[in-house]
């Protein structure tokens, strides 16, 4: 009997389905894994004044802040994603999000001087990572990190590690249905069945993470010329991204670092966030996501097309077809 557990975190509902072993052990394992999510929420939420990220945003320009192993590794992954996406993935867009009314409070259409000031405070290039000391610092004042574009994927990665440490091998977890991570497939099945809204057919997921990002998931006030800006910014231009299709990205659980984290959830979410912000989904660096194909699925019932990035494991031979979504 599969055991299903749920908990609130990061403004959404995380759910985990576990198979194998007795119900008591699975429940305890699932609960411990979901507790990682709650702990992360407390550390990462830009909406909470007492979070580590808020602490970093307040003091990062004054003195370097020491991070624990997991969080520092996350920052390293973000750095990789920033470079791999050509800067389209950039979690420093907070001031701009606020200036555009995307972060709490009533939506606003501020004048251009305010926007220009906000744009001057954006840029991952201002973040300094010291790998020897495991610290992070900002080289300008006013920089603000908002990890909303990667937090759920990261939470799923730590959740996955927790499950494995508890001896669970077969499970599926998701955060708000927009980030999904599958461990091994259920017995007798090739994978966990996942459906993506607006796209045809189920996808079979095993030892991989899927992330869906859309541009139109939050209503905002129209600007002066009547456009409705989306809640996604292109960090490279500082402009809201015009309406467009959703992005789906998938990353495989291929290798683990010394801390036992496989980073598939984080990578998948960084890429889907980057694609809706305008990134071209063809990474230039070889690695666990070396091959990418832009895959047009054609019209769905909703009338739009979805561009998707499919990443192949590093050991797949060149030219091998990754599973298409269709």
């Amino acid at each position: 009997m599969p055991v299903t557990l749920a908990a609130w975190g990061m403004g959404t509902r995380f759910e985990v389905v576990l198979i194998g072993g007795d119900e008591r052990s699975l429940s305890a394992a699932g609960e411990a894994a979901l507790a990682e999510v709650a702990g992360l929420d407390a550390r990462l939420s830009a909406f909470r004044r007492d979070s580590l990220i808020s602490h970093l945003n307040r003091t990062g320009h004054i003195a370097p802040v020491t991070l624990d192993g997991d969080l520092f590794a996350l920052f390293e992954r973000i750095d990789e994603a920033y470079h791999a996406t050509g800067g389209a993935f950039d979690p420093t867009v907070g001031p701009l999000m606020r200036a555009l009314g995307f972060r709490g409070g009533p939506p606003a259409a501020p004048d251009s001087a305010e926007l220009a000031a906000a744009r001057a405070r954006v840029g991952w290039r201002h973040v300094r990572l010291d790998r020897a000391r495991r610290t992070v610092a900002f080289d300008i004042e006013g920089l603000e990190l908002d990890l909303g574009g990667v937090a759920k994927g990261f939470a799923l990665d730590l959740l996955e590690r927790s499950l494995r440490e508890s001896g669970v091998t077969c499970a599926l977890a998701h955060g708000g249905t927009s980030s999904v991570l599958a461990l091994a497939a259920p017995p007798g099945a090739p994978g966990w069945r996942v459906e993506i809204a607006g796209m045809r057919g189920p996808l079979l997921l095993a030892n991989a993470s899927l992330s869906v990002s859309a541009r139109q998931s939050r209503r905002t006030a129209p600007s002066a010329d009547g456009d409705c800006p989306s809640h996604v910014l292109d960090p490279r231009s500082g402009q809201p991204v015009a309406d467009g299709p959703q992005a789906v990205s998938r990353a495989w659980v291929v290798e683990r670092d010394t801390a036992g984290v496989a980073w598939a959830g984080t990578r998948a979410e960084c890429w889907s966030t980057a694609i809706v912000a305008g990134a071209t989904p063809v990474p230039t660096q070889p690695g666990p996501w070396a091959w990418a194909r832009q895959h047009e699925t054609g019209a769905s019932e909703l009338g739009g097309a979805a561009r998707s990035l499919l990443c192949a494991p590093a050991d797949a031979s060149p030219g091998a077809e990754p599973e298409p979504i269709s």
Binding site: E31, A35, R49, R58, T59, V65, D68, G69, R133, G260
Partner: protein, 425 residues
């Protein structure tokens, strides 16, 4: 406190009262910086131990130099997360890393450079570690409850009295800036006649800890073991009961309680839902409710007085005034301008209404979790020679209340609290 519980937290006072936020404005947003570098060890690397490590990382000029857990796998997991090298067992520790130990005595012997130790082991294992650390001349921070038996509490208190180093107990309310400020209101009679008190901790969780082998499972699930666990009143309640002891400067004289397994019917004996009544000498009563089966309204404490109620929620504090309560001098200014006055508090009129509309800015509330302040105060005591905010005697008294509350729960009888116990003798 997350958004859901915060809204519920504030909406309970409709109509008859005006809500005022209690915020220590004078609070600096900079974390504490120890005047001299300090090396600290953490003993006990379960979930709470890791939360402690996360808060320590915010305090400047200190280093978590070593961690210890009797379970090798848990130690390795802790090292991986915190940033040391896995596989340590006394042998690890590259430059700048965190050294791992499975035996706290080996840690105390080898690392003379570590002058302070934080104890976050299971409650029934506190005594040995704390007494050894104090005997080895270290400063000690011990989590609550301080111990699970009266004997162990007395042994720890005696060791602390005989020691020249700092002994602090994790009674977090006493270090919490919101609670400290709210206490000045309480003591200065804003509340007027105290009528009654309430507290709760509601959180839906099994309290079970997973383990990959049966042998470890029993050790990790000490909270569910009736031989050693103080149950919800001891493990959860002590922190909250102590807020009332501290505010009132007195301890209850009797306790009764009822509890049972209302939901987690997995063979456990430790009650998952309890109601405890703590009676004070003047007749006022503290009603305490704790459950592992429902999360509504989370964790808070309330003092009900004839002029006002004070509600405390660990990162937030509120005072709800009756319509006929006299206006204090400073409130006149507060109603005209919503920013801080010379008493160092910020009052937001109509805060309840604003909060229920979701308009209250996130700026309200402490910048760090409650645990941070207790740890920072410990580091301050160690670095600056100040006495501990909550020492072993306070720890003993608070723990005794928890021990007797659990006893009342198990027997179903009224348990009198001997005032002689409360003297720490």
């Amino acid at each position: 406190m997350n958004d859901l519980t915060r809204r519920a937290f504030l909406m309970s006072s409709a109509g008859a009262v005006t809500g005022l936020a209690i915020i220590p404005e004078a609070l600096s947003a900079r974390p504490y910086r120890a005047p001299e570098p300090l090396n600290i060890a953490l003993i006990g690397v379960g979930r709470h131990g890791r939360a402690i490590a996360a808060e320590l990382a915010k305090i400047e000029n200190i280093k978590l130099a070593a961690i210890c857990d009797i379970d090798q796998q848990r130690l390795d997991a802790g090292l991986r997360r915190i940033g040391g090298e896995a596989g340590g067992g006394g042998a690890g520790g590259g430059g700048g890393g965190v050294e791992g130990f499975t035996d706290h005595k080996a840690l105390l012997d080898k690392r003379k450079d570590i002058t302070a130790v934080i104890v976050a082991t299971p409650t029934h294992l506190h005594r040995e570690v704390v007494v050894n650390a104090l005997a080895a001349g270290r400063h000690v921070y011990c989590e609550t409850p301080m111990a699970h038996t009266l004997d162990d509490c007395r042994a720890i208190a005696a060791a602390a009295r005989g020691s020249k180093t700092v002994m602090a107990v994790g009674l977090e309310g006493r270090s919490n800036p919101v609670y400290q400020l709210a206490r000045t209101f309480f003591r200065s009679d804003s509340v007027r006649d105290l009528v009654s008190m309430r507290a709760q901790q509601h959180q839906k969780t099994t309290w079970r800890v997973p383990a990959s082998e049966p042998a470890r499972e029993q050790a990790f699930n000490w909270r569910l073991d009736p031989a050693v666990s103080l149950g919800l009143p001891g493990e959860w309640g002590v922190q909250q009961f102590d807020v009332f002891h501290w505010y009132r400067e007195q301890y209850p004289v009797a306790v009764r309680g009822r509890g049972g397994v209302r939901f987690h019917k997995d063979g456990r004996e430790i009650a998952d839902t309890v109601q405890v009544a703590l009676e004070f000498a003047d007749g006022a009563q503290l009603d305490y409710s704790a459950t592992l089966a429902n999360s509504y309204e989370g964790k808070f404490e309330v003092f009900f007085g004839s002029n006002a109620a004070i509600k405390l929620g660990w990162t937030h504090g509120w005072m709800f005034k009756e319509a006929d309560a006299p206006t204090q001098g400073w409130e006149v200014y507060a109603n005209r301008q919503q920013f801080h006055n010379d008493q160092g508090i910020t009052l937001i009129a109509d805060a309840t209404k604003l909060a229920s509309q979701g308009k209250l800015k996130e700026g309200v509330g402490l910048p760090y979790p409650s645990l941070y302040y207790a740890l920072a105060d410990f580091v301050k005591s160690v670095s600056e020679g100040k006495p501990a905010v909550a020492g072993a005697d306070e720890g003993l008294r608070a723990s005794v209340v928890g021990i007797l509350a659990q006893q009342a729960l198990r027997t179903g009888e009224l348990v009198k609290i001997d005032p002689a116990l409360m003297k720490g003798a």
